[in-house]
Symmetry: C2
Subunit: 347 residues, 2 copies
């Protein structure tokens, strides 16, 4: 007994396959009675149309793919949720795909376009360094969301993007620490080879120091251990602990992400110091956990919701032809909480 298909349904109902097809796809010109009967038979026999056959035949499909690159960031999880809602609102369906570190997201996209007759693509995260030639092959509109450095060589009319200005936000946070009187500010950065958002945030730190004529000390820039998962609390803990164990000093720490900051704070406590009493700590991202941590975390909040919404809005506008590609940058919001404090004169 093979799986039941549209032909079988047609036979049972004593109608042609096209009528069944029309009933399934809500075509207007089909007798309500026959339609009702067909749907009834379908239910009774638990008939499920084969999507592969459908996709093969169709030229469009109302499907949007979301490709997530790299770490399973809490951050992305939140974004996916709102994006999925937006997509559903437009009566499209979403297919989610995790792209491995060593996989090429555009290759994956190319494949999906064929298989699913995609109408649009959203790339979440990643660095996105691809040959323009390859990108050209992607005939489907796509938008890069919170992706790292996008080489400036690409024609900006061929895709959209939305993100925060990582460098500027990072500069702002560093400036805030400086305004509190701090001069010895450590930075917990990503691994040295990183060229993505990690690099941009380092640049912002550097700029703030330069603006204030503070010498940049290499020993204050802590790179994560490449053997520990990036952006994890573990990596923040390790970097900070090693720093303190070596007897180095600082009065403030700017961690490249909130999760890293949590690790750093714990390391400071484990060294017998307090936050912000002895050392101020600031993070980046604005994830919810920062609000509940003790001490609650000073951070730059990325407007996840706005970014997610903008991402899908732009994509749908392009799909509908109501606008061309564009690039939006959202401001982060600075949130001052308990983990940072003015440099006390005693230090």
């Amino acid at each position: 007994m093979s799986e039941i298909n549209i032909k079988d349904i047609a036979k049972i109902c004593g109608v042609g396959v096209s009528t069944v097809s029309r009933a399934i796809n809500n075509h207007p010109d089909v007798n309500p009675e026959t339609k009702e009967k067909i749907l009834k038979v379908i239910r009774e026999n638990h008939y499920v149309p084969n999507n592969s056959a459908r996709n093969l035949k169709r030229s469009d499909s109302n499907t949007i793919a979301v490709l997530v690159k790299g770490v399973s960031n809490t951050f992305f999880t939140e974004m996916i949720e709102t994006i999925q809602n937006e997509i559903k609102k437009h009566n499209y369906s979403m297919v989610l795909h995790r792209v491995e570190f060593d996989e090429d997201e555009v290759d994956v996209a190319l494949e999906l376009v064929k298989e699913k007759r995609l109408r649009g693509i959203i790339f979440l995260g990643g660095y996105f360094v691809h040959s323009e030639e390859k990108l050209k092959r992607l005939k489907v509109p796509f938008v890069l969301s919170t992706a790292g450095s996008i080489s400036k060589v690409y024609n900006r009319d061929d895709y959209s993007s939305v993100s925060v200005d990582d460098m500027e936000e990072s500069r702002k946070m560093t400036q805030y620490l400086i305004d509190l009187g701090h001069r010895k500010i450590a930075l917990i950065a990503t691994r040295e080879s990183d060229v993505s958002v990690g690099k941009l945030r380092i640049d912002g730190y550097r700029k703030a120091l330069n603006d204030n004529n503070i010498k940049i000390e290499k020993s204050l820039i802590l790179h994560m251990d490449p053997n520990i998962e990036e952006f994890s609390s573990e990596s923040g803990y390790k970097a900070m602990k090693d720093f303190l164990d070596e007897g180095k000093k600082c009065t403030a720490v700017f961690a490249i992400s909130d999760t890293v900051a949590f690790g750093a704070i714990r390391a400071i406590y484990d060294s017998g110091l307090t936050v912000p009493g002895d050392i101020s700590v600031a993070g980046f991202d604005g994830i919810k956990a920062g609000e509940f941590y003790i001490p609650s975390l000073t951070t730059i909040k990325q407007p996840i919701d706005e970014i997610s919404r903008a991402t899908s809005d732009i994509l749908f506008e392009i799909i509908n032809g109501s606008s061309g590609h564009r690039h939006e940058i959202y401001p982060g919001s600075f949130i001052e909480r308990e983990s940072t404090d003015r440099l006390s004169s005693s230090k």
Copy 2:
């Protein structure tokens, strides 16, 4: 210009389509030279086989589907990662699918089976209450991983499952708090209508209290606000804050999950009390954040890695026919950290 297909490649190479197909799929009987030439042409023309057509024709596909139900738990994210690795090790590919709260995971599975010619399915989370009749339609082997209550009526030979014994682990944690001298132990539970793991963990709490002849006080069982996301720190904060604001007292709190515990601890601090000085707090799950939180969190750690590995192991054994369905329960490990303490005599 339509998309290039296998026929075009065949034409360019001056060979038949079957030869091209054989070259693509690494069939043994194809001349190495022609194969090389074909692959070269494919590369040059960026030909990508259409997966829909493939799935339509094939009867098997070496694909495993992972269906995740409900909240985008950090917990699941970690699991998916290891499961994906295991699947890749077996040279299978994974398709990930988020199932909405109001969607029927089995319906989704049924559809996917047809479309992708699935070889196996992994259900992550959810409550899994389905008619046996419907489950029977799922001809593909599946395993339920960390899913909540599975009605005992199902024939246990028709599927596999792996999880921890939520009730027993919950009982253990409550017993631990009792052993520390606590009697007024609050429980932060899920919303009242929950019948899943939330319910099981409440049962464990009740059992421990009964075992020790401690009267169960309804006012000490705090249900989450159904309007706030389940298992979130917000919901833990709200429940605890309301409790304290109403002037109620307890000396220990058992939160249904680590994230909920974080919210509760913060609420306790915001009320001017300390953890564990005034109130001890314990969580459940053993997520990494608990290690870095201040105070670090006493919890029951679910062996995520073991569970994930067991889940895929079982599935592949069934696929390979080397074993039948089975049901594994893993013990959680109790982790004592800073957030709990012996009841001081002053209280």
